[in-house]
Symmetry: C2
Subunit: 147 residues, 2 copies
């Protein structure tokens, strides 16, 4: 299989995209670390803050395995940021809900995130961010339609 210019350019983009992914994961962890949390916990806290959900629902929403989310939810609960509430409509699947402490911590993270995003956002010319987003979305679109 011979290499083509377009193929090389694509590989280049993939490499750069992987790098970006790492940087962003890191940013999420850095943003949440001051409150002893992580990107993974943040996602769960954020989702549960909007509506109490079962672990299986959260997993479907985040497109993660049920068991993976279960671990995070158990950790959050052990640390007192969430609690399992009886679910009147399903005796197996308890509802994960924020505790007061969970609300406080999520709020602290969100404040920090907003400050960070506002600050970073200003480093781009007007319209540039939309352009970057469109570029990434185009890439995702091509990667996702498998044929």
């Amino acid at each position: 299989m011979k290499r083509t210019p377009a193929g090389d350019a694509f590989t280049d983009v993939v490499t750069t995209g992987l790098l970006l992914g790492g940087v962003l994961e890191q940013a999420g962890d850095t943003l949440t670390a001051p409150d002893g949390q992580s990107g993974a916990r943040w996602k769960v806290l954020g989702i549960v803050s909007k509506r109490e959900m079962t672990v299986a629902e959260i997993a479907r929403f985040l497109k993660l395995s049920r068991q993976g989310v279960q671990k995070v939810a158990d950790l959050l609960t052990k640390e007192g940021l969430t609690a399992y509430l009886d679910n009147p409509s399903d005796r197996r699947a308890k509802l994960l809900a924020l505790t007061n402490r969970g609300r406080e911590i999520l709020s602290a993270i969100q404040t920090r995130q907003r400050r960070w995003a506002n600050h970073m956002g200003e480093k781009f010319e007007v319209g540039k961010l939309a352009e970057i987003k469109a570029a990434i979305q185009k890439l995702i679109a091509v990667l996702s339609d498998s044929d």
Copy 2:
């Protein structure tokens, strides 16, 4: 902390970028799965194919922890794709080298990757890939200079 349009746009880009990262990681695993490998193993095989290196060197190169790379290297070695060679210049740090089997498998992965990249590359208009790469790099640059 109030939200700003630029901040919201930035947050949007971050979300999209995280999604991209996931899709790319997945692509790496899919590309290597037919040979029973993974993205992580692929990186190590690729690096070692150019030059035999110690685990610590590989870790520095990939910007991963020494211990994380050690685990992958041990797995690869256990499966016969790599071997530890005595290092004349350091009695502790053996050199990780490809075996014949490792070379075969890496070659198979590379062929599959090239076919994939060539195919995907053709789905973009000329110049579009360079544009996407530049957009992502701009984002990485801003994220990386911490101030």
